[in-house]
Symmetry: D2
Subunit: 101 residues, 4 copies
Amino acid sequence: MKVVVDLAVEPIGTGSTSISKYVNAAIEVLKRRGLKVYPAPSMTSFELEDLSQLGYILKEINDELEKMGVKRVVTFLKIDDRRDKETSIQHKLEAVNEQKH
Amino acid sequence: MKVVVDLAVEPIGTGSTSISKYVNAAIEVLKRRGLKVYPAPSMTSFELEDLSQLGYILKEINDELEKMGVKRVVTFLKIDDRRDKETSIQHKLEAVNEQKH
Amino acid sequence: MKVVVDLAVEPIGTGSTSISKYVNAAIEVLKRRGLKVYPAPSMTSFELEDLSQLGYILKEINDELEKMGVKRVVTFLKIDDRRDKETSIQHKLEAVNEQKH
Amino acid sequence: MKVVVDLAVEPIGTGSTSISKYVNAAIEVLKRRGLKVYPAPSMTSFELEDLSQLGYILKEINDELEKMGVKRVVTFLKIDDRRDKETSIQHKLEAVNEQKH
């Protein structure tokens, strides 16, 4: 069953208040791995077939940011792991957008 | 200066794994207050002109959920408060979507 | 009924990977307001009698950090609002420490 | 270099507002793996030598909760990955407690 993860990476100590290049680098890592990615204003959602893989992905993101000169990364994650029925980014989006119509 | 807030409400003890009606109730509170709201798959972003108002909004959401029978709400928030230049949901969305093109 | 809040402040763009002086400034704001505060390794817990007050507290913290030169603050919060029975930092600590013995 | 992780597990749909047995089950998983664990009121901190392992740990926790009857788990995580110098729960605790004295 798919797990939906929300991710925010916060580079600490960069000397600049702009962080979009680091956020975009994180999104690139997710896409290179072929994950379904949905960038939102402040968090990025992605789908995982196997929660076990999450650590490798986060490490790859932080390694990438380190190459860009970031010496400390604080990451915030929300993980939605539903075992009773299939979930997905698409399903979750529909659930919050139904009321709009 | 605007503050961008990301919100997730998790009702605890409802007896159902479905939470979309509670998430939608929270979104309704935000819209009734005239806030700019952007529902994402797992979090809802909204803009605040004045961070001082956040507590009233969260209390109104939890009161609404209590009326719906929820006895415990765990809320997760990410707040982006930028003092050097104007930020907004629109600006943040553009920053993460530029790379797509 | 008390609400238990967990807080993490992340100063963005400071040029230093050390953030403890900012975390301590946030804790000082909480203490000056007479709140019960429990500093943990990565988050700070505090008790609120009235959730409505949260926005004022967060604004005071960010104003304090701005005076210290921080131009952008990302804040993470977890709020536990229980309506069926009284909760507190002490109660929650006991619940997770019982198994130790 | 060690990574410090803060974890909160929220069981959804259990029918009870009490979650301490699930939180304690998560802590047990961390301890069985020999990790350094620091239970705080609302989050549990632990140290990881290798961030790659995080997914396996989270999956084991959610599998354990599923055995206890939980059909949906929402997890919140804060990860502090510092590459410029060694960090630890002990170091972070000292940094926020210095001002107390």
